[in-house]
C-alpha cells in the first residue's frame, strides 16, 4: 500500500476525483451530442421489425420469423418507410389490422401504462423500503465494543490460551506460507 499511497498523496486524491468525475460527465455529454449519423431506412425498418410480432408464429417478431406472412409484413414496413410514413404510422397500420398484441411491447398509453408503471413504482417502493430498513437497522455499536475491550481474562484460561495460540498459528501459517500474525495477548 505504501507506494500507492505516496503517489496518491502527491496528487491530492480529492481534487483528482472531482476532475475525473467532471471529465466523465463531459464525455457522456459529447457522446449524446455527436450521436452518430441518423439511422438509415434499413436500420429503421429493422427496428420496427423488432417491435412487431408475427401474428401466426408463437413469440417471434417479424424480424425473427421466417413465415411467409412475416416476410410480407417486413416488405410492407419498408415500403411504407420509403413512402415517407413515420414509425408511429407504420405501427398504427398493423395495430389496426391485427390488434394491439401485434406490438412487441405494450404502447405507453391507457391501461398499458400500468405495464410500464408498475415496475418503476415497484422498484422505487423497494428502494424506499430498503432505505428505511437500513436506517432502522443502524445501531450505536460503540457501547458494545467498549464492553468487550474492558473484559479481563480469567486466570484458569491461560494454559488453554497457549494451546489455542499454537493451533491458530498453524491455521494461519497453513494459509500464508509465512508465520502467522497472532497478536500478543492483551
Amino acid at each position: 500500500m505504501h507506494s500507492m499511497s505516496q503517489i496518491h498523496r502527491r496528487f491530492q486524491p480529492g481534487r483528482l476525483f472531482s476532475i475525473v468525475a467532471l471529465a466523465a460527465v463531459a464525455m457522456l455529454g459529447t457522446a449524446c451530442l455527436t450521436q452518430g449519423t441518423s439511422p438509415t431506412l434499413e436500420e429503421r425498418a429493422q427496428e420496427i421489425g423488432r417491435s412487431l410480432m408475427c401474428p401466426v408464429c408463437p413469440g417471434e417478431t417479424i424480424e425473427q420469423s421466417q413465415a411467409e406472412l412475416a416476410k410480407q409484413m417486413r416488405a410492407i414496413v419498408r415500403e411504407k418507410l420509403a413512402s415517407g410514413e413515420t414509425r408511429q404510422e407504420v405501427l398504427d397500420f398493423f395495430v389496426d389490422r391485427y390488434n394491439e398484441d401485434v406490438l412487441a411491447a405494450p404502447p405507453k398509453s391507457g391501461f398499458n401504462l400500468v405495464a410500464w408503471g408498475i415496475p418503476v413504482l415497484g422498484i422505487a417502493a423497494a428502494m424506499a423500503t430498503l432505505a428505511l430498513v437500513l436506517r432502522g437497522m443502524r445501531r450505536n455499536t460503540i457501547g458494545v465494543s467498549v464492553a468487550k475491550e474492558g473484559a479481563t481474562v480469567e486466570a484458569d484460561l491461560e494454559p488453554y490460551l497457549a494451546r489455542v495460540d499454537l493451533e491458530l498459528e498453524r491455521v494461519l501459517r497453513g494459509d500464508d506460507g509465512a508465520p502467522g500474525g497472532v497478536p500478543p495477548s492483551a
Binding site: L157, L168, V171, L172, P183
Partner: protein
Amino acid sequence: MPLLAGIVLAWISVLVLVWPFLRRKNAVHSDDDPVVEIRRRREAVYEEARVLHNDHLLGDVPLVEYEPRFQTHRVLAAELLRDEERLQELAGRLEEEILEMRRKVGTEG
C-alpha cells in the same frame, strides 16, 4: 419377466428398509456427542479467525478493529477448549463409575 424383476426389486427395498430395525443397537451416535459438538464449534471459531486475519491482510479490516476481534475469537476458542476437556473428563469418570458398578454387581451376583 418384468413382474419377476419388480418382485426382486421390491424385496430388496423391503430388506434395506427393515435392516436398521433388525441390527444390534450400536453405540451412541457421535452426532449427539456434546464433546464433538464443542470441538466443531471451536473449529468454526478458528475458521472465523482465519478469515478475519485474511481480511486484515487484504486491508478490509483496519488494525484497530482487527486486534480486539481477534482477541475475542482467541478467548472464545480457549473457553471452548476448556469446556471440551472438562466434558471429556466428566464422560470418562462416568464410564469408570459405570464399569465399577457393573463389576460390583458381577461379583455379588
